[in-house]
């Protein structure tokens, strides 16, 4: 039933078949193998990232969920009972310092025995967030500031509270919202942090901000115009932002030195 249309189609196609410019079969096989290996490598990378991300999330969530049981977040008395590798306490941390301890002793002990009033956060200056390290799908930044009060003070026992600009522009009618944060303690491999305790004038005070950098954790959210909420209800601007995360933001407790 081959009509003229069909004959023309077949003739043209046959002519084309004789003039094809195809690769050698060995090249086809090699290309397929290369692609298969690449796919396996990509798959392995994805699995590694996912496992690292989940591990990191569990790591952070574990400490955030049970802060009172963890030595680094627990009250000073518990430090000696369950030391961890990255925050082994020195002998000076094993006892409760007396109220008459020197400022340095109190600093070591991290005690806030009421010898000094709680630090007025309005007195914090040069508040800056610095990008820190990243690993396991998580990133750690540090907010540092200088205490400008005239007398020693005790770091708040509460976790820092932050706001971010959630409306308006930085110049005109900015609106701020409370930044939803989790609480956690971070071990960055550096010297052990001294949480709580007394801060002297012009001393540097810090806290950590943890974010998630793993894309599979969720959509990335950016929080511009970060501010530190003070006890009076005011806010101190944090330079160096914004903060971005694909899995929420976690803050650590105040600390004022590392050892």
């Amino acid at each position: 039933m081959a009509d003229r249309f069909e004959r023309a189609l077949r003739a043209g196609s046959a002519r084309l078949a004789m003039n094809t410019n195809l690769k050698h079969p060995g090249e086809i096989r090699a290309g397929a193998e290369r692609r298969r290996r690449r796919r396996i490598a990509v798959l392995a990378s994805a699995v590694t990232l996912a496992v690292a991300g989940l591990g990191g999330t569990a790591y952070a969530a574990g400490w955030a969920a049970a802060p009172s049981h963890h030595p680094a977040v627990a009250p000073t008395r518990s430090v000696a009972s369950s030391p961890g590798p990255s925050h082994r306490p020195s002998p000076s941390r094993t006892g409760t310092p007396s109220p008459t301890s020197s400022p340095s002793a109190r600093r070591d002990g991290g005690s806030s025995d009421g010898a000094a009033p709680e630090c007025d956060l309005d007195a914090m200056a040069a508040v800056t967030i610095d990008g820190g390290g990243a690993g396991g799908g998580h990133a750690l930044s540090t907010v540092s500031m200088t205490y400008t009060g005239a007398t020693p003070c005790t770091l708040p026992e509460k976790y820092p509270e932050l706001t971010y600009r959630c409306g308006g522009s930085a110049q005109a009618d900015p609106r701020y919202c409370r930044l939803p944060v989790g609480h956690g303690t971070y071990f960055d491999g550096g010297p052990a942090k001294v949480y709580g305790g007394t801060v002297r004038p012009h001393e540097t005070v810090l806290f950590d901000v943890g974010t998630v950098s793993e894309p599979s954790a969720g959509p990335e959210r950016t929080y511009p115009g970060l501010h530190l909420v003070t006890q009076s209800g005011g806010a101190v601007s944090i330079a160096g932002g914004p903060v971005s995360s694909t899995g929420g933001v976690t803050v650590g407790r105040w600390y004022h030195g590392q050892r």
């Binding site: 039933m1 009509d3 003229r4 249309f5 069909e6 023309a8 189609l9 077949r10 003739a11 043209g12 196609s13 046959a14 002519r15 084309l16 078949a17 004789m18 003039n19 094809t20 410019n21 195809l22 690769k23 079969p25 060995g26 086809i28 096989r29 290309g31 397929a32 692609r35 298969r36």
Partner: protein
């Protein structure tokens, strides 16, 4: 264990033919060669299984057509450029009738084009096309009929045959 000699002889024996069939689908020789080679690369990845099929060539052709349709959809912008600047001359010395047929095939729906190519070029029967494309025999007949009708206005020289052939396809399949 995959037998590379087996695959190589299969490739060398069928690839030019499959390329020409794919060319009728996509209308461009370079694209047809790329799509065909991609289909054979996939065949090699699954050669243990594909080699045992009744017709490995049909498997490759099916994969190539799928890739072609997928590529076709992705390349809307490129097609727009083709329409604006004209289809590139990719087959020097080709029969003008064949060039016209391929150009006309590009203007009909992919499902109809596939049915027309399988029926008139590859030489499959309607039930075989139904099996290869995974649709009912009646659907294949409808696609062939509509495909030929759709081609007729673009191929004035073959309009009479295309219109007459509609009833033949419908009756015989």
């Amino acid at each position: 264990m995959r037998d590379s000699r087996d695959f190589d002889s299969f490739y060398l024996g069928t690839a030019p033919r499959v390329t020409s069939h794919v060319h009728a689908m996509v209308g461009n020789r370079a694209d047809a060669e790329d799509v065909t080679q991609e289909a054979y690369a996939r065949a090699w990845q699954h050669w243990d299984k594909v080699a045992r099929y009744d017709s490995p060539e049909a498997w490759v052709r099916t994969i190539a057509f799928r890739i072609a349709v997928s590529t076709w959809r992705k390349a809307r912008n490129r097609l727009t450029a083709h329409r604006r600047h004209g289809v590139p001359e990719d087959l020097p010395g080709a029969d003008p009738d064949y060039v016209a047929i391929v150009a006309a095939l590009r203007r009909i729906a992919p499902d109809q084009r596939r049915a027309v190519v399988l029926y008139h070029l590859v030489g499959l029967s309607v039930p075989e096309i139904a099996a290869e494309t995974g649709v009912a025999v009646g659907t294949v007949r409808a696609r062939l009929t509509r495909g030929r009708q759709a081609l007729a206005p673009h191929l004035s020289e073959f309009a009479a045959e295309l219109t007459a052939g509609v009833s033949e396809v419908a009756n015989h399949g």
